[in-house]
Structure formats: C-alpha cells, structure tokens
Amino acid sequence: MTTSTTAVLHSEWIKITSVRSASGSLIAVFAATLLVTVLTFSTVGRAEADNPGNDLLFFAFYALNFGQIAAISFGATALSSEFLNGALRISLTAVPGRSLFYAAKMAVIGGLALVVGLITSFTSFLVGQSFMGEYTIGLGEPGTLRAAFGGGVYLALMTLFAAGLTAVLRSAVAVLSLLIPFILIVSFVVGDIAGGVAQYLPDRAGQLVLHQSAEGSLGPWTGLAVTAGWAAVALLAGWWTIRRRDA
C-alpha cells in the first residue's frame, strides 16, 4: 500500500476533530475531571484526608473516575462514526488498506487521548491539592509524579479499550452500555468481594498506578500493563473484525 501514512493520519485527524460528538467527549474528559475535582476538594477534601488509613494520593485522583467515562465515550464515538449509514465504505474507498486505515485511526485517537489525559491528570491533581491546606501533596513526593503520569496513560488506555471494542461491536451505544455499568457497578461490587482476581479487571488494574502503596500482587506499573493488555486485546479484535468483515 503506497497511500502515504502521514496523509492518512492527517485525514483521520480531520475526521475526528470535525465530528462534534467526538471532540465534545474529548473536551469532557478534561472538563468533567476538573469540575468534579473542584467540587469535591473545595467541600469535603480536607475532611476525607483526615480519615486515618485513607490513601491520599489515590484520593487526589478521585475525579478521574468521571474523566474515564468521558474517555470511554470519546473512544466509542470516534469509532462509531464510521459505522453510521455505511460511512466506513467512504473511508475504505479512500484508504482501501484496512490495516493502515485502522492503525491511523487508532493512533490519532490514542494520541489525542494521551495528550488530553496527561493534561487532565496533572491539572486535576494540582488544582485538587490547592484546596488541601495542611494535607497538600507536592509533585516531588514519592509516587506522585508516577501517579499523575500514569493517570494520563490510564485514560488513554481506557479510550483505546473502548475504541477497539467499538470496532468489534460497531456501535457506541452497545459499548457504552456495556462498559459504563461495568465500571460503575460491576467492577466496584466485584472488586470488593472477590479481591484477588478482581484486581486484573481493566479499570481496577490500571488505577493501581494512582495508589501510594499497592496491596495485591500487582504493582503500579504492572497494573497499568494489565490495562494495556486489555486495550491491546480489544484493539487486535477490532483490527481482525475490520480486516475480515464486508464494509
């Protein structure tokens, strides 16, 4: 395939940034996280920190729980716009190399999510801490930089996880109604009950990078690597589907 890779990347950039639902949910990653950070930390921030045994570092990234919903929406809608009314046919007539098309799209989605994720993670950390008074954690303290950086990577991985699943299921609605209840309810409930195995769930594992000290068998980076594994499986499944199926 001699269609230029940079040209296809540029084209995918135009496609994603020119669809309101996709660019909107990307902005929402930042906006929702920051909003929840301000609301939480300006009200109950110090009271929470006063609780003995609370992981202050993990608490600092509390609002990422909301940002990740937006990140998942971004991943899903960025892909699902190809599955509306046969839009994929137009895309594949322009770029018939399906692997190139898919890789370029995912690279743009992942890149955008990573940049926005890092900005979100660092900003919400710093803004949140500004409300914490005596409990403030600085970026220089152990694990903090790792958590802030890892939080951004985590958002990007969840975005790609959702995007890969959307390529398989061909519907943002299906993916969102699968992932959001999963993250809000199943992972939460199962995580508290099952212990050992639950830490390998995509959101649980990835969020280990945000903790001051990990308790289970997974460390902060290995946890994030497990989430990367989930994302990789979803991306491969999506790639396989795009290559195999009639458009």
Binding site: A7, S11, K15, V19, G86, R89, A94, G97
Partner: protein, 317 residues
C-alpha cells in the same frame, strides 16, 4: 485507458447468491448504464469492485489491478455509493477535505468540486442540514474530487430535482466525452436511456445483457413507422394494397407495423401522397427492458429453484 473488468464475480451472503458469475467490462469514453431491478446485484457488484465486500469467487480490476492495490485510489476511481453515508455532523467542506487529504489531493480541489456540484455556497454547512438532493450532489462532488479516470455512480439521480437531473446527465456525458470510464447504475429506464451509450443489465445477480444501447433497442423492437398525412383515405388504400396493416392512432397519426421509413417514404412519393411526418418506431428502453425481463421470467420459472435465490433477501444497500 482504464477499464473496469469483472471476471466470474460471485458473492454469496449466507445462502443468498447476490452476484452470480458475472463477467463484463466497462470501457472508457462512453457511459455504461448498469440496469436491473432493485436487488439484482448492482450495488453489490460495485462494492465488490471497490474492494469493500469480498468476492466469494472471481475477480474484479480497475485498469488491470484490484482496487485495493491502487495507491491513492481516489485519483483513479471516483465512486458514489450511498449519499446518506457522509457523517451528518461534519461540514461538507471538512468531509471532502478529509477525503482529499488521505489521497494527497490538493485542498483547492475541494472548493472546485463543491462549486462544480452546485454546493459552492453551502460548503460550511453541516451535512445533516442537507436535503437528499444536496447530499447526492455532495456524493458526486466526492467522486470527482481526485479528477479520476473511472467514475462509478450508484443511482446518482436519487432525490435530485429536475435541474439536478439535467445537470447529472450533462456531467456524465462530459466525463465520457473526456475519455473517462463511466458506470452508472439505475433502475429508471427512461432516465438511463437519456445518457447511456452502452448497457449492462443484471437480473438476479446474473448478466442478462452487455451491448450498446442502440443494439439492445433494435434487438427488442419490431420495425414499424409512424406517419401523418393529409390524404389518409388514399394512403390507407395504397398501404392495404401493398399488404400492410395501417392503424390510426387517437391523435390522427398512422402506425404501420413491419414497415420501414424507406419503403413507406418511397411508396408515398410514387403515389404522390404528401407526408407531413414519417419516423421509425423503436421500442423505448423501458419497453425493451420489460420485453427482456418477461422472457427472462419465463426462463427463470423453468430453472430449478437452486438458481433462483430470493431477490428480496439480497443485501442491496
């Protein structure tokens, strides 16, 4: 020059055979009308040629190469498949810009094709605000974007207003006149007869006809003439004497089956009967097509069920 070549192309969707061992070529420099009822396999064939669907058996090529192996394919082939496919929340300009960018086509072409398609003033509007006719024009603009040698249009006059239909007709004639290869599917016979030079007709996924339109019409017409005269009575006597069976129409004209203008013109001149009008009667494309399908219906009715898969289950998009 670039032809579209389809060889033994076959596509099964589950147990439904949408396209059945099709072999034909679309040549440059003329407009080829791609005819058949809904579900005959026209859209499927186009998708197979564009590499969007995978053929069960057989091959298709553009200028000797499979579509998927073309570099910057929009510069070789422009296609309109479904005007509804463009994402509604993009502007027309961004939609075209994304396509142009992927194939290294200059951004100035975006404005050029918007203007050519009559959308010059609405390029900044979101596609969801477009009428069906405007979407159709946008789809045609996208097909023209790469100045391609091959143009494939699936039902391009769908939703177009009368002005748009005249425009698309002129456009197709112009593209063929420039030596491009133009394949246009339609289920509207009168519309197709106004622009096509050549016909490829499908029925239930199989090739029924691949010939110049004029030849197709002649093969499906009985000769006959229509005429108008000031001396009906004398002419009628003369014709009956010569063994013809003239019949008068409601509007006062006469129809003579089995005659040619040469025979009748010379005869009338010899008898000194003034003719005000004299023309050959030829079947319209619609009549020729219906004649073809009625004979085909007889044929398919006597064919074992295996060959007559249900056309309604065809995945015509």
């Amino acid at each position: 020059m670039t032809s579209i070549d389809v060889h033994e192309l076959t596509k099964d969707y589950g147990s439904t055979r949408a396209v059945d061992h099709l072999t034909f070529s679309v040549r440059p420099g003329r407009v080829t009308g791609f005819l058949g009822p809904n579900g005959a396999g026209k859209s499927t064939t186009m998708r197979l040629v564009l590499g969007l669907d995978r053929a069960t058996v057989g091959t298709s090529a553009i200028g000797g190469r499979p579509y998927v192996s073309l570099s910057n394919p929009l510069r070789r082939v422009g296609a309109l498949l479904d005007a509804q496919a463009a994402h509604g929340s993009r502007t027309a300009r961004n939609h075209l810009l994304a396509l142009a960018t992927s194939n290294g086509i200059a951004g100035s072409r975006v404005e050029a094709v918007l203007v050519e398609a009559g959308l010059g003033s609405v390029g900044g509007r979101r596609i969801k605000t477009f009428s069906l006719g405007m979407r159709q024009r946008l789809g045609i603009a996208a097909a023209l974007l790469g100045d391609p040698e091959v143009v494939m249009l699936d039902e391009p006059s769908n939703g177009l207003d009368p002005e748009g239909i005249v425009w698309i007709r002129g456009l197709m004639r112009k593209l063929a006149g420039e030596g491009r290869t133009v394949l246009v599917s339609s289920h509207l016979m009168n519309e197709t007869s106004s622009f096509a030079d050549h016909l490829v007709v499908l029925g239930k996924g199989r090739l029924l006809v691949d010939m110049p339109m004029r030849e197709f019409l002649a093969s499906r017409s009985r000769p006959g003439v229509r005429l108008r005269t000031t001396e009906s009575t004398r002419l009628r006597e003369v014709l009956i004497r010569k063994g013809y069976e003239p019949a008068q129409d409601d509007d006062g004209r006469w129809t003579v089956d089995g005659a040619t203008t040469e025979e009748i013109g010379v005869l009338a001149a010899f008898e000194g009967i003034p003719l005000l009008e004299l023309s050959n009667v030829q079947a319209t494309l619609e009549e020729a097509y219906l004649d073809l399908t009625s004979t085909e219906a007889e044929f398919t009715a006597t064919t074992p069920p295996a060959a007559t898969t249900s056309p309604t289950a065809d995945q015509e998009a």
